[in-house]
Point group: C2
Chain length 512, copies 2
C-alpha cells in the first residue's frame, strides 16, 4: 500500500510537471513549417502557414524550404531549421516520409524541442519501407529527447494561443479537450461541436503516436485548469493498465468520453491501415469501461451529444422522464425509445391528470405521459400551464420536450400565425429550462422526419437556437435519450464509487 | 393435410373477393363528410373537404351538417347522410364521439357501406364514457354490416383514385402500401417517402380498428396488383395466428416491413392511451419475425431506408462490402458499422491492390478496403479507374460509396472547382450504379457530420439527387448498412425457406 502511494505520488509529480513541460508546445511563441511548397494545392506546409495567418497567430511564423532564401507565402523562409536565428518553439514537419529523419536531425541540431510530424507514409502503409522509416524516426526521437506529436496526424489545435492551423476557425475558448488518433475526426469535431456552442481548450490529433502517447496528453489534460471535459477517439492503446488507472482517476472530476474505433474484426484491420494500431479485444474494452466509469460513445455526434449535457446541466440521477410531444404514434415511439435506453416514463399522478384535464380534452390527446397534446404545442398559455403542472409531479425527474420547426406554408391546416405562436413557445422553453423551477432538467428533441432540404435546414436552425441558448437540443428523440442515459449513468457511477469510498483518489493525494 | 388445403383455399377465395369487396372504399365515386363546421381552424370535416378539392378528387363531394341546407366550403350540403339523393361510396365521420352512433345509424338507413370514423374519444381515453361509446358503435357496425375504418384515425389515402384527403399531396402512384395504426405516422411517411421517390398504392390509417382490422387490409393488399411492398406500423394485433400465417405467405412475394410499437413497458402503456391496443410481449413478436421472415424496423426512416432497396436493387445475397470513402478514422468507423450489422469488409486481393497502387500513393491513403482515398473523391478519371478496379475484385459483393456535399467556400484548402469536380463524380456514380457492370449493387452514404443549417441542407439535397436518380442513398453509413443488412437478410430467408420447400404456399395454391 505504501509502495502504491509512493508510486502514485511520483506520478502526481510527473503530472504537475507535464503542465510546464508541455507549455511551449501548446502555447508556442514561434512556429516553423518545414516543407512549404509553392504549389498552393491540397494540404501541406503552405496550408498550415495560411491558416496560422488567417486565425491571427500572434507569434513568429517561419517557412523552411531547401531552395528558399527570402520569403514564401508572406513569411520569412530559411533553407533549414538550423538556419532560423532563434530555435522555434514548434516545428511542423510536412515533407515526404523519407525526408523526415533528416529534418528531425536538423531539429536536434538547432535545439528544437517540440515537433509535429504531419507527414504520413510510415508503418500505417503496412509496407516494409514505411516500417523501417518509422523505426528510424523512433530512434532519433529518443536520442534527441524530442517531444513529437505524430507522425501521420494533424497535430495541435489550441484556441487560447491561436495555434489552430487546421480545423474550424475557433469561435471561442471552451473547456472541452479532444484527443484523437484521427485527424479527420479532430477536424470534424472542431466544426461540429463549435456549431453547437461547445468550445475547446485543446484538440490533439496524434496519429501513429511514435513520440508522445495518448497517455502523455491525458496526463497533461488531467492537470490543465482550462480543461473540464475530455473526449477521446482511440484506435490502439500501448499501456492498458496505466491508461485504465489514469482514466479512472481523471473521470471522477473531469468526465472522460471515449469512442474506441476498431473493435470489430473489419474495424481492427482498418485501424491497422490507418494508424498502424493494434485495436485490442472488445471484452478488454468492456472491462475498461466498467472499471473506469468512462462514458462510451460510438461516433462524434454521440460525443458532442453527451458533452452538451455536461456543459449545460447540473448533475442529477433520476431516470423518470416526462415526455411532452404530439401525435399518438410518436408518443409510443418516444416511450419505447426511453425504455430501451433505461429511462422510465411513469404515468402521472391522478391529481396531476385532473389538473391537466381541466383544459385539455381527452379526445385526441393523452395526459397520462407521454403527454400527447398537439393543442398546447403552439399555444403559449396552454403550454406554460401544461408543463408547470406536469413537471411538478413528484414522479418526474426530467423532461424531454419535442419541438418542431414551423412555417405557415407547410402547416396549411393549422391556425394562422402557427410559426409565430410556435416560436413564442420555444422562447418560453428556453426561459423555463434556465430557471429550472422544480430542479428538473429539460432537454429538447427537434422532431423533423423530413428529407426536404428546406425542412431539414429549418430543423437544424431550431436545434441550434436551443443549443446556443444553453438548452441541450438533439436531432432526434433517440439521440436525446441516449445522451441522457449516459450522463445519468456517469453520475450513478460516481455516486456508487463514492459510497464504496475507501480507495484514495488522485485528488485526495494532491491535497495531502 | 387435405383439411389444411381446403381451409387454405377457402381463405384464398375470401382474399380474391376482398379486392372486389373493398373496391368502392379505395376508389370511391362519391364522398360525404359528416361534421363540417364553418370554423376553418384545426383538423376536421372542412379540412377533409378542402384537401379533396385541392388534390382534384374527381368524384362528388358532399358536406353534412344539421343546420346546412345549401352549400358549405363550396360543396353541396345536407342536414343528414339520409338526405343525400344517392348513397355516397364513402362517408367520413368527423363529429364528436357521442354523436358517432347516430351518424352510423343514418349511414345504415341510407344504404351506405363504407365509413371512415375520424372522430376520437373512445376506449383510447381509458375512461368509462369512451369505452361504452365504443361498445355501442361496435354493435351498430356489426348489425349494419358496415365496412368501417377506425375510429380514431386518418383513414384511407389512395393516389390512384385521388382519394387523398390527408398526408402529403401525392407526387405519383407507386407500389408501396402502408398500413398504420397511427395517423401521424401515415401523414409523416406519406411525405418522407415521397421526398425520396417512394410512391404509394395505398396508405391506410386504421386507429382503434373496431371495424376492419389490419388483417382485412393485409388480405386486400396481398391480392392488390398495384401493391408490391407492404409497410406496417402496428400497436396491437387481435388474431396473432392468422396474422402470422398471412404475413408468412405474403412476404414470399411482397416484402412486408413492420414497425411494431409498444414493445417496452412504457411503450405499451402509451399504445393503450393511443389506440387502446394491447401491445403484446416482445418474445412473441421475436418469434413472429423469425417465423415469417418479415423485415423488422424501429422507425419510419428505417422503413423508407429498406423500401428504397426493394425499389431500386435486384435481389442479392452476398455480404462482402467494398467501402469507398476518405479519411482514416472514417474508414475505421465504416468498417466497425458494417461488422456490427453482419456485413464483412474483406481485404482486396493482392492483384487488385497492385493495380490501385499504380496511381494511388500509399502515404495518406489506404487501398486494402475500406478504400481511404481522398484524392480520387473529386477526380472523375481517378474515381472511375479506382471503382472499376476495386469492384471487379471477386471478394466483393456490393459497394457503399461515401459522398460529401461540396461548396468551394467550405473547402478553401481544396483545389479550385472542387464542387464541380465532385459533381462530375456524383453523376458518374449514378451511371455506374445503373449499368451495374459487375452485377454488384451500389448504394451511397451522404457523409455530412455538420450542424450548420446550410451544410445540412446541402447534404439533404445531395442525398435526394441520388435517390431520385434511382441510387439508394442514405443520411449516414449506419443507415445504409442497417438497411442493406435487412434487405440481404430478407433474400437469405427466402432462399432458406425455398430450400426447405415442402410447404405449399399461397401462390402455389392459387396456381393449382
Amino acid at each position: 500500500m505504501v509502495i502504491w502511494l509512493f508510486s502514485h505520488k511520483w506520478r502526481v509529480s510527473l503530472l504537475m510537471s507535464k503542465l510546464e513541460e508541455f507549455h511551449s508546445m501548446f502555447y508556442p511563441r514561434s512556429v516553423a513549417v518545414v516543407g512549404v511548397s509553392t504549389n498552393p494545392q491540397g494540404w501541406g506546409g503552405h496550408a498550415f502557414i495560411r491558416r496560422l495567418k488567417k486565425v491571427g497567430f500572434p507569434g513568429d511564423i517561419y517557412a523552411v524550404n531547401p531552395k528558399a532564401t527570402n520569403e514564401v507565402h508572406g513569411v520569412k523562409a530559411y533553407p533549414s531549421v538550423k538556419d532560423i536565428p532563434v530555435p522555434p518553439d514548434m516545428v511542423i514537419v510536412s515533407v515526404p516520409a523519407r525526408r523526415v529523419p533528416e529534418v528531425l536531425e536538423d531539429c536536434i541540431a538547432a535545439g528544437v524541442k517540440n515537433v509535429h510530424i504531419f507527414s504520413s507514409g510510415f508503418s500505417e502503409t503496412q509496407e516494409e519501407e514505411g516500417r523501417q522509416l518509422e523505426a528510424r524516426i523512433v530512434e532519433i526521437i529518443k536520442r534527441g529527447n524530442l517531444r513529437v506529436v505524430g507522425p501521420n496526424c494533424m497535430g495541435l489545435y489550441v484556441p487560447a494561443s491561436k495555434f489552430t492551423a487546421w480545423g474550424a476557425p475557433p469561435k471561442g475558448v471552451g473547456n472541452m479537450a479532444f484527443i484523437s488518433q484521427s485527424g479527420g475526426h479532430g477536424e470534424i469535431l472542431s466544426r461540429y461541436a463549435q456549431e453547437l456552442g461547445i468550445y475547446f481548450s485543446k484538440i490533439i490529433s496524434f496519429g501513429n503516436a511514435r513520440g508522445l502517447q495518448a497517455l502523455d496528453f491525458l496526463e497533461y489534460l488531467a492537470e490543465d485548469p482550462d480543461t473540464g471535459i475530455i473526449g477521446m477517439y482511440l484506435e490502439g492503446m500501448s499501456d492498458g493498465n496505466r491508461f485504465t488507472r489514469l482514466v479512472k482517476e481523471i473521470n471522477r472530476t473531469k468526465p472522460v468520453i471515449i469512442w474506441k474505433g476498431g473493435l470489430t474484426e473489419s474495424g481492427a484491420r482498418a485501424a491497422a491501415s490507418h494508424t498502424a494500431s493494434m485495436a485490442g479485444e472488445a471484452r478488454i474494452w468492456d472491462a475498461f469501461f466498467a472499471q473506469t466509469g468512462a462514458i462510451r460513445v460510438n461516433s462524434l455526434e454521440e460525443m458532442a451529444d453527451v458533452a452538451l449535457l455536461f456543459l449545460h446541466l447540473k448533475p442529477f440521477r433520476g431516470r423518470r422522464v416526462l415526455l411532452l410531444g404530439g401525435g399518438g404514434g410518436n408518443a409510443v415511439a418516444m416511450a419505447d425509445i426511453c425504455s430501451r435506453d433505461g429511462l422510465t416514463v411513469p404515468t402521472l399522478a391522478e391529481d396531476t391528470r385532473r389538473q391537466l384535464a381541466e383544459f385539455i380534452p381527452l379526445a385526441g390527446n393523452s395526459i397520462r405521459n407521454p403527454l400527447d397534446v398537439w393543442l398546447v404545442q403552439h399555444n403559449l398559455e396552454m403550454f406554460r400551464r401544461c408543463i408547470e403542472i406536469a413537471a411538478a409531479d413528484p414522479a418526474i425527474d426530467l423532461i424531454i420536450a419535442d419541438r418542431y420547426p414551423h412555417d405557415d406554408d407547410m402547416d396549411d391546416d393549422g391556425p394562422p400565425n402557427f410559426a409565430e405562436q410556435s416560436q413564442r413557445v420555444d422562447e418560453f422553453i428556453v426561459e423555463f429550462a434556465k430557471n429550472n423551477p422544480f430542479g428538473k432538467p429539460l432537454v429538447v428533441a427537434v422532431n423533423a422526419p423530413t428529407n426536404d432540404p428546406n425542412g431539414v435546414k429549418a430543423a437544424a436552425e431550431l436545434r441550434l437556437k436551443f443549443a446556443l441558448a444553453g438548452v441541450p437540443a438533439y436531432q432526434s428523440q433517440a439521440s436525446a435519450t441516449r445522451a441522457l442515459s449516459r450522463f445519468i449513468g456517469y453520475h450513478e457511477f460516481l455516486a456508487k464509487t463514492q459510497e464504496v469510498g475507501a480507495e484514495p483518489t488522485l485528488a485526495s493525494c494532491c491535497r495531502s
